[in-house]
Symmetry: C2
Subunit: 301 residues, 2 copies
């Protein structure tokens, strides 16, 4: 199981997902932007804009390596010997649909090596502008099904981690209905071989388009009002806040000299802010706010 094999598998996953999303969208294609990193490695940032379903999205593959920089050590809170090398490869994606009844989605799978250690990380989480509990349940059922094929503890463990990771403390809101999140997973702590851990990441990736297609098709034909668009844009504002203020990956990337355009492809085409906005009591917007909480058992909704 070489790192080159892992990188090739991830690159293949990126292409598979882009192809599936183009079919799902039906109106636009991905544009691929190839880039090199001076210190070692590079990537392909594939983006889509103004489609039939998706207003803005990106599916990025990268494979970067080289000496661990001082800024990386600071950001990762690491003490490593001088000359320590790192290697990182992964696929990361965020999709912002037009229709407020279709959720924003994010997925990331990644593999990291530092010196002799390696680990996998990743996650998928869903951010509906309007939470529909039955649809949230479908999403979590699909993730549980993938997790259960690898370990009976994965779904419960990784669902809890997602609730804590995708949380906006300054708003006291979760980013959405969560999903799964895992990090620092290796054969030492997962009870699975390195090959099985790669397969878990790939299986999540292969299931991504069917899972999102189900969510998207439930909402994409629904009509929407200017008020619903306003709410969508305010929720996108929260998405921007999470990504720029709270997301560890974004902060690490921006502060350690990552490629800014690739990191910030996660931001929506348009986001709004309004001072002190509070939705009307009893409205669907207020109901959504009431569900942006940790530790909701979506499988039982």
């Amino acid at each position: 199981m070489t790192k080159e094999h892992i990188a090739e598998s991830f690159r293949g996953l990126q292409l598979l997902i882009c192809k599936g999303l183009e079919e799902l969208d039906g109106g636009a294609s991905f544009q691929s932007d190839a880039w090199k990193r001076e210190e070692g490695g590079g990537g392909f940032t594939n983006t889509i804009a103004n489609g039939a379903l998706l207003e803005k999205g990106g599916v990025a593959f990268s494979e970067v390596y080289g000496p661990v920089s001082d800024e990386m050590k600071k950001q990762l809170n690491l003490q490593t010997d001088p000359g320590t090398q790192f290697y990182a490869t992964g696929v990361s994606l965020v999709l912002h649909p037009f229709n407020p009844h279709v959720p924003i989605i994010h997925m990331n799978v990644r593999y990291f090596e530092m010196g002799d250690a390696y680990w996998f990380g990743g996650g998928i989480d869903l951010t509906p502008h309007y939470i529909v509990p039955a649809q949230a349940r479908l999403f979590h059922e699909k993730l549980q099904a993938v997790c259960d094929r690898f370990s009976p503890s994965f779904y419960t463990n990784f669902k809890t981690q997602a609730d804590h990771y995708f949380f906006i403390p300054h708003r006291n809101e979760t980013r959405g209905i969560g999903g799964i999140f895992y990090d620092h997973l290796s054969e030492k702590n997962a009870g699975l071989s390195k090959g099985q851990l790669l397969e878990f990441a790939l299986e999540l990736g292969r299931n991504f388009v069917p899972i999102y297609a189900e969510q998207a098709n439930l909402g994409r034909e629904l009509p929407f009002s200017p008020e619903e668009l306003k709410w969508r844009n305010l929720r996108r504002g929260r998405y921007v806040e999470f990504n720029l203020v709270n997301d560890r990956g974004t902060k690490f990337g921006l502060h350690s000299g990552g490629r800014t355009e690739s990191i910030l492809m996660s931001l929506p085409a348009e986001a709004n802010w309004e001072y002190g906005f509070v939705p009307e009591e009893g409205s669907r917007e207020a109901a959504t706010l009431g569900l942006l909480k940790k530790d909701i058992s979506w499988l039982e909704m």
Copy 2:
């Protein structure tokens, strides 16, 4: 010179500025939102929206105090004795105009006490969507004139600090044309008494509306195209990035339990992002990008 006197002066300044801005805007009034802080103090967050000139803005006064929390120590990188008290009061404002030919502006003046120490901080900086060097020069001339009435070293020193503070490393761009920024100013290092330092802060505040009125009146009647609005919204996206990723005040506030709505009143009503956007060579947008650099001598433009 009691802290209560300083707080009252700042509250008066807030009201003076709001009154002046309402006259300048001509279409909307400020709404005042009074709030209390559980651990001590409170404030008045005055906001304006959908005016004739201003799309969204806020002028906030606060006076907060109490024991130094662990999170404050962490954010300020401080080691203080258990039970140390802090006191902070200030006025902070950000204005986002509709017309892309009118600049965004920010001002802040503040006073801080911790244990036996005190200091003043503050700044004014301008973020034109389109930089017009002659107008940038006017802005810096006005700031220099206020600074020069207090110390011959202030303008040069504080202009350099603004260039470094209002900088977006991940974009390698300044936020705008800078202005002045100062911090940790006391009689120990400023060559001025505490009363003179307060007067400096107040004098900046009293000059704020005339300075912004001059800038606004140069642009508010100019026609603009959809392309110019698009550019305005992309520049607002950078403003959001600076405030959420780089601004120490915002990060400190959000991470130490500050009042989120008051802190984030600085964000625009609407901001846009587009992957890999690069303005056409030779365009006015490209010219503006070329001027978003540190160490430009605006007085000589």
